[in-house]
Symmetry: C2
Subunit: 224 residues, 2 copies
Amino acid sequence: MQRPYKHIDATEIQGFEKVFRANLINSLSGLKPANLIGTTSQDGQTNLAIFSSVIHLGADPALLGFIQRPLGEQSHTYKNIKETGYYTINHIQEHIVEQAHYTAARFSREESEFEACCLTPEYLAQFHAPFVQESLVKIGMRFKQEIPLTINNTILMIGQIEHVFLPEHVVLDKGNLALDETAAVCVSGLDTYYRVSKLAQFPYSKTTNLPNFSQKSDRNSSKR
Amino acid sequence: MQRPYKHIDATEIQGFEKVFRANLINSLSGLKPANLIGTTSQDGQTNLAIFSSVIHLGADPALLGFIQRPLGEQSHTYKNIKETGYYTINHIQEHIVEQAHYTAARFSREESEFEACCLTPEYLAQFHAPFVQESLVKIGMRFKQEIPLTINNTILMIGQIEHVFLPEHVVLDKGNLALDETAAVCVSGLDTYYRVSKLAQFPYSKTTNLPNFSQKSDRNSSKR
């Protein structure tokens, strides 16, 4: 293992100052997707919030999840989803990353993050919840199920994809999205955003099409 | 919304050819972390598998989750975790991305992906499960709980962080990890890997420290 390296054990983690621990643990899962979730209350008040916990659950049915933090006075996204049954997931791209970041501030329920952060609610296909006009990849979600994670009072929220809106050219031949072309960002920890560029694409992996890694590695070694 | 754009609804999604749909839906959650999960069976046979579903669940206690696909003949990672109670999560960096990708091939339980893909099992701090020597960020996990997601037969696997090993210089002052310095990669869909570069870091967002977005946006407009 590369030196000097740091070994941190559970006791040390427990002893870290709160913000330091939050930043460290939030960075450990690796790079995270950056999305904005749009909702409307029963009374028609719009809400928008950044989430780094959206996760693919399955393609058939087409399900996405996200982690709702322990419920509190705020939790407007959760309340609106429970009231109305619908929400939108909108990718965050480079041109809106700063506005998206600040949707996390504690606005009152009467204030809309759309307005405060200069993003535009967009209503498409008679869908109940507002999309983010500025986002290039917008997903309309129908709420399906909430699963309380009693271990730390978070909630796994599960929804099914009802609509997708995105520029035609970013859908590649085999269904992949060119997330570098949309300038999608990812996030690390609580406050750091990364841009992406394509590194590699590999064939479907089978035991019968393995590259000859040992030869490659010999080649690399002999180069050193 | 930027034109020409594509509107895809639930019926169309359902009608797509299977691989196309899998690629599309797997791309929609946004950029995903790329990790290798290392385990050992009761009999001491090592296993290594790529996962793009590792997710931060909470910092106190320090919990990470991942989604286990519907169980089948294979599912060696799941079986080993249930047998032994321990596993490792290892970030995938640029220098091992191809090897990591091919750990997804269907090896038999008697074959180790470590060997087949030329990665090195590393035992640290008397931890039961093998780390990936070549990875720069390695996490030792204790299995805590499995939550069946009956909606599609996947399972949310939850574990607690017991050990972290990483190069000292990538832990920044406030606990964030410099994931660009480690050359961590993220993944989109099933086969496309992206490298990252730092785009921005913003202060903790409060309603009292909002940038003046409307002024910025006016400025941008007047430039056009």
